[in-house]
Each structure stands twice: as C-alpha cells, then as structure tokens.
C-alpha cells in the first residue's frame, strides 16, 4: 500500500464529484444533525434542572448520566437492535436498518454526553446571573436564555463534543443501520467497509471530508459565540 498514492487518489475522488461519496457524506450529516437537534432542548432543560433544582436524587441521576457516557456505542446499538428486531418489543415499528433507527441510536449516544457536560457548564455558572435576570423581570425561559448566553463557551464545547462523538461513531450505526448504500451507509461505516475490502482511497477521502467539515463547523461556532472576555468579578 502506497500512502502517497492513496492520498492522491482520495483528493481526486473528492474533486471528481463522485455521487456515491457525497451521498455517504449527506447521510452522515443529516442523520447526526437531526439526532443532536432532537435531544438538544431536553438535554439543556435537564442539565439546568440538575444544576439549579433542589430535589432529592439529583446526584443519583447525575451519576447515571455520567455512567451512560462510558457505555460503548456498539452496546447501545446491540440494545437498540434487540428492541427493534422483529421479535423485539418494538418490532412492529419496522425501523431496523433505516435512518430512523440510526437517528434513535445516535440520540441515545449523545444525550448523556450533552446532559453531563451541560450540567458541568451550569454548575459552574453564577447563580446571581439567574437571579438578576429574574429580578429584572425576565420570564423563566428568557432568564434561561440569558444564563445560557453567560455560559455559552462550555455549552458549545458540550455540543461540539457530542456532535463529534456521533458523527464519528461506527458501532451503533453499523448495528442498527446495516451499512446499506444510499440509505444507511454513513462516513464511519463506509470507511470500515471499504478498508476491509482493501480500497483505501474512498476511506481517506471520507476522512478528509470529516476533517474539513469539522473545521468549518468549529469556525462557524466560534463566530457565533462572539467576543470572549474573562470575568473580573
């Protein structure tokens, strides 16, 4: 295997407008973006409640979420597979080997990461920010928005970490998606399949796309979060 030759082939593949390649990229991004969008708001609310609420069992719930982060994605895939397979409890939904199943799996993968990292962000925030917003007349959702703005850096770090995790995740997508071309084949499963067949060029090309898009996303986010000032009080 010639690494230089493979890289050249990969670059060529990228610029030749190969439909199969861009189809795979499209599946990967639409699935992962939808998955993270669907869990974002519930994760935010739960993370906020865990940091600011006063109810018994808070620490238990938090440790559960923290533990869930370290479950391998294949195990989540396996559980979902068993639930969605014909004989499983949700077999009637006929969702196995569809994009919906992949979205469900990725939601389960990124939810605990989001909750636990966003909780850390809120836990580190200043309670006075919340109180000041409320006392100056903000409604509860507006006050939450203000608080989110105050800790936007750690919150965005949480989103980036969660998104990176699901866009690069192989195990769960492979289990419940099935790596079907033009339907459930996404970037990581395609790379795994192609390289097992000995064709590396597409894998490298997909890897490059992932890198470039990750870079673009992070640039976008750093523009969105605006200027950074260190707190002096």
């Amino acid at each position: 295997m010639n690494i230089w030759q493979t890289t050249q082939d990969a670059v060529q593949l990228l610029f030749s407008g190969d439909m199969a390649l861009w189809g795979i990229v499209g599946v990967s991004f639409s699935v992962s973006l939808l998955a993270i969008t669907l869990v974002l708001v519930p994760a935010l609310v739960i993370a906020f409640a865990l940091a600011y609420g006063k109810f018994p069992g808070r620490w238990l719930i938090l440790s559960l979420f923290n533990t869930c982060q370290s479950i391998p994605t294949v195990v989540i895939g396996l559980l979902l597979y068993m639930t969605l397979s014909r004989a499983g409890p949700l077999g009637d939904w006929q969702m196995l080997f569809t994009q919906k199943a992949m979205i469900l799996g990725q939601m389960m993968v990124c939810f605990p990461i989001l909750v636990s990292m966003m909780h850390a962000a809120f836990q580190n925030s200043d309670r006075r920010a919340w109180e000041t917003a409320l006392t100056l007349g903000a409604s509860l959702p507006r006050a939450l928005l203000s608080l989110m703005w105050e800790c936007r850096f750690p919150l965005l770090a949480a989103v980036i970490a969660a998104f990176s995790r699901i866009i690069t995740e192989v195990g769960c997508s492979m289990m419940v998606g099935g790596n079907i071309l033009n339907s459930t084949r996404n970037i990581p499963t395609a790379i795994a399949l192609e390289s097992s067949k000995g064709a590396f060029a597409q894998g490298v090309a997909l890897g490059m796309v992932l890198l470039i898009l990750a870079l673009g996303l992070n640039f976008l986010l750093s523009i969105a979060r605006g200027k950074a000032h260190l707190r002096t009080n």
Partner: protein, 234 residues
C-alpha cells in the same frame, strides 16, 4: 405607577437545624424607606431575597403578584416589579449599555426608546462616557452604580438594596440618593441594608434590626436621636 404593599406572614427560614430568623408579621407600603441593620450573617440578604421572591422561606408566605411559577413561565414582568440588588452586583457579559437595557427589553418595545432611557439612567449615575465599554473594565464602585441605574430605569415598586453603597465614594452615594429619592417620590418602597450610616440611610424613616433570630422595629425617633449622637461625638 402601581404601588405595592408587601405583607409577609409567619416567615421563618432554617438551614438544616439552625433557625436563621422567624418573623410573625411584616408589612410595609408605598413611599416608605426602611433601613435594615444587623450583624454579619444574621440573615439580611436572606430576608431581602425572600421578600423579592428569589428564595422561598421554610414556612410562611409573602404576597407577591406575578411571581407564581406558572405565570413566569410565559410572561415577563416588565416595569413596576420588585427588584433585589445583589450585595455584589452581577453584570451580564456585554457592554454597560446592554446591562442597563436588560430589564427594559421586557418593558419597552422600541429599540430607540430603550436606548434613550438607558442613556438617561447612565447620565444620572455619571457613567454615560462608559456606555459602550465592556463591563469587565469597570471598577467595583462603578459596577454598583451600573446596578443602580439598571434597577432605576425599571421604576420598581419595591427596590431592595443590599449594601448597595458599600464600595461607593461620597459623590456616588449622592447620585444614588438622587435616584432613590426619585423613586420614593414616584411611590416606590425602599429597603436598604448597610453597615455604615450615610446619606442613603438618612432617607429612611423606619428601621428594622435583626438580632437573636427576631426582627425588631425601632422607632424612627430613636434613629434620628442616634444619628445626632453620632454626629455630636464623631
């Protein structure tokens, strides 16, 4: 403007087993200025937070409209509410002007209107030249002035000032007194805590003192007499 009489019944607060204070009955109304005293840790801040609805007491109730959980889910409060000013004010990440505009966003529609009111308020506290600076460059006293301007623009019915003149120089206190007087004339109620007597506490005609877990109301005459004594010997 709307005037509020705050009435609290049987409020007590305890942390673990320690009773901080118990107040059987508390009532204060429009155009009153109250000076709240007591040593460190007797619960002045806690009492003010309870009166503003930011903290709930262990027992008892405070009559606050539009503070119910459910109402706040959908509706912003706008003007004439109860405002608590923190002992060390919190400034939102943004410019000085953004901070003064914060509450106005919920009260006034027009951008331009908000801006001009905020600038007026900043002029009153003498900070209009810093309007576009980021808050992280402000000094401690300047932050307290911004906090006062931020509360004053909303013309609150009740303003709870927790040590709001603590790190202020004489001139700043004078400016704060002007704003406080303005609010009083509009029918607001002020509660002021302070460890020093100054021009701001001199506005007060009632005095509360927390000691031994109780709230004692001192007669206003006594306060004035004590004032005189202070000046006589000091």
């Amino acid at each position: 403007m709307s005037q509020i009489t705050i009435q609290a019944e049987d409020i007590s607060i305890r942390f673990k087993d320690r009773l901080l204070f118990h107040i059987p009955h508390l009532k204060f109304g429009p155009q009153e200025a109250i000076y709240l005293t007591g040593g460190n840790g007797v619960g002045k801040t806690t009492l003010l937070k309870i009166l503003s609805g930011l903290q709930s007491p262990t027992t008892g109730t405070v009559n606050l409209q539009n503070q119910s959980w459910f109402a706040r889910l959908f509706k912003s409060n706008g003007k004439n509410g109860v405002i608590y000013m923190h002992q060390t004010p919190y400034m939102f990440d943004g410019s000085v002007l953004d901070n003064v505009c914060y509450g106005l966003k919920f009260a006034l529609k027009g951008r331009q209107e908000q801006r001009s009111e905020a600038i007026t308020a900043l002029r009153m506290v003498g900070l209009e030249t810093l309007a576009n600076e980021h808050i992280s460059v402000l000094s401690g006293g300047e932050r307290q002035r911004v906090a006062m301007a931020r509360a004053w623009v909303l013309k609150p019915s009740v303003l709870l000032m927790d040590e709001s003149s603590a790190s202020m120089d004489k001139e700043s206190i004078e400016r704060q007194v002007v704003l406080a007087k303005d609010l009083l004339e509009r029918g607001s109620t002020l509660v002021i805590t302070s460890h020093q007597q100054n021009a701001l506490t001199a506005l007060c005609r009632r005095q509360w003192c927390i000691s031994n877990s109780k709230l004692i109301e001192r007669a206003d005459l006594q306060l004035i007499k004590k004032d005189k004594d202070n000046y006589a010997f000091g």
